[in-house]
């Protein structure tokens, strides 16, 4: 595949055992296989319960160890990494087995599975899961997911571009300064839009981009658009530190403006709330639901469009964060509410 560069000599093939999704899948797979084996033996669920005394500690300990190992994986040739994925669980099985033997009371009947055999089974599970995750990564290979991300990346609505340009034209003679700053905002927005879809930025930058986007819309919509930002327990420092994929929030705001503000004659307030929850960041965007979704979009399918935009963002989040990010959207108490949760990834 890719030629190894001097700085990073090897490709990482150790699964990302620090990822909740990977951990959940691995645990599920191991437990399912053991359950099936126990059922074939006639022991069923009880057998699984008995085995889990050994199973769960081995799985978790192996994954914690591999999570640590992954950081130095680039220094290790891939075949070594694969071997480690078998050896680590085997070592853990022997270690946990040893510990259980010393525990008085005999919680686990080790006669069912002699230590040597246990190590073999653990190693087999390790290599099988490593193989599965490696294949999975290849299936979603960088080239492929790159293309997928590019396709999913929020594209600006042509309607927005031309209306904004038109608004700037209207300002040039009367308010040249405002026209200038609007064009500057517009070009910065487009610079980000044309960047690589995998680009990572700070939350602070993303929010600045959102503000620029909203100020362009403000030129166009005037008093009809009002925006309220609330950032409860998030400090300036945290905003600078938090890493997010670029254009994480802007498409959500564009959605709110398009369906919540453009469709209404009266002034509308969009509320944006940022909040930190342990190691996650929570962003909520609220806009009032237009009284009657008029027929103005009958031919462009407003509801379908809205759904597609959100689905698009959801898929992009899944590619970027797997199961660690969530997006919920829907009407709640007369307002349309979009809630986004994503991990707080610290950068320098």
């Amino acid at each position: 595949m890719t030629q190894a560069s001097a700085a990073n000599p090897f490709e990482t093939v150790v699964p990302d055992c620090c990822n909740v999704g990977v951990v959940a899948r691995a645990l599920l797979a191991v437990n399912l296989v053991v359950l099936l084996v126990e059922m074939a033996d006639g022991a069923g669920l009880w057998g699984l319960l008995n085995a889990s005394v050994l199973l769960e500690p081995v799985c978790l300990a192996s994954m914690v160890a591999l999570c640590g190992l992954r950081r130095i994986s680039r220094a290790i040739p891939p075949w070594c990494q694969r071997a480690l994925c078998a050896l680590v669980p085997a070592a853990m099985a022997s270690l946990v087995g040893e510990l259980l033997l010393k525990t008085p009371g005999g919680l686990f009947d080790l006669s069912v599975l002699p230590p040597a055999q246990g190590m073999l089974v653990a190693g087999a599970f390790g290599i099988a899961l490593q193989h599965y995750f490696e294949l999975r990564t290849r299936a979603f290979s960088p080239a492929l997911s790159e293309a997928r991300l590019q396709a999913l990346q929020a594209r600006i609505r042509p309607h927005f571009l031309f209306n904004s340009l038109n608004a700037v034209l209207s300002l040039i003679r009367t308010e040249p300064l405002r026209a200038e700053s609007t064009l500057e905002d517009l070009s910065e927005l487009f610079r980000v839009l044309m960047r690589d879809a995998r680009d990572v930025t700070s939350l602070e930058e993303e929010i600045r981009l959102c503000r620029q986007y909203l100020s362009i819309e403000k030129v166009r919509l005037g008093d009809r658009l009002k925006v309220e930002w609330k950032s409860g327990n998030i400090s300036e420092k945290m905003l600078k530190k938090a890493r997010v994929p670029s254009l994480l929030l802007q498409p959500l705001l564009e959605n709110a403006v398009h369906y919540g503000v453009e469709a209404v004659s009266e002034p509308v307030t969009i509320e944006i709330e940022l909040e930190r929850q342990a190691d996650r960041i929570h962003v909520a965007i609220f806009n009032p639901i237009p009284e009657a979704l008029s027929e103005r979009d009958a031919h462009t399918g407003a509801r379908v469009g809205n759904h597609m935009a959100l689905q698009n963002i959801r898929e992009r989040l899944a590619l970027l964060y797997d199961v660690e990010a969530q997006l919920t959207a829907g009407p709640v108490g007369g307002r349309f509410e979009v809630r986004l949760y994503f991990p707080y990834v610290r950068g320098d």
Binding site: F162, A167, R220, S265, E295, D297
Partner: protein, 264 residues
Amino acid sequence: MVPRIFIVDDEAPARARLATLLSDIAAEFPHELAGVAENGTTALAAIPAARPDIVLLDIQMPGMSGIELAGHLSGMEHPPAVIFVTAFDGFALKAFEVHAIDYLLKPVRATRLADALRRAVALAGPKSQAQAEAIAAAAADLGVRRQHFAVQERGRLTLVPLAEVVYLKAELKYVTLRTRTRDYVIEESLLSLEQELGERFVRVHRNTLVARSAIVGVERGVPDASDPDKGQESWQVVLAGIYERLQISRRQWPVIKALLNRGT
């Protein structure tokens, strides 16, 4: 007399831009600005008095779309020529091209605006009927259904939301539109109304369309004098909010019965 021009757009900068462009081309295309409006409802209130010859009309507006507004305008006694102005609207533009309806793309160039205005002047008057038909056809292609009836009364246009209409009844030359509070007279054929509004209205009689949502039930009524089979049992529609009953023709009775059975 110079042509009078009216601007309808929901975005203030877009209205300002069109007004600027109009003043720029005033030398080559003498005209008068008859007025501006920020949505369909205010436009319909102002246009009969402003009496414009040409309306520059944005398509995407809150409330009533430009296409619906154009439909109402073409029902006026002296309908103005309509030029649609839009930033980007792929589907609509395709329909406009098919039906040879004029449009301008935002940002608009002064020369294009002048050309379109000249064409509109040529189209006004006797050709307004052709424009009305083209707009109706484009609206049908785009699936734009009206949300209002624009009723002309003593030179003024009154908007009646579709949701308030209880029934439409064909009289000798016109159609009576009944809401809970009063009735209006409109000049449209019941047949074309049925084709357009078939999803919301159901025919209960040769001359009556009733809003599906307004039907509460049916009851036995007095025999219909116009019915050829006098003395046969007849049924009437019971309506929400109105004491009046409407005769169901024998021919439509199975349809209504099926409708009521489905509802319960």
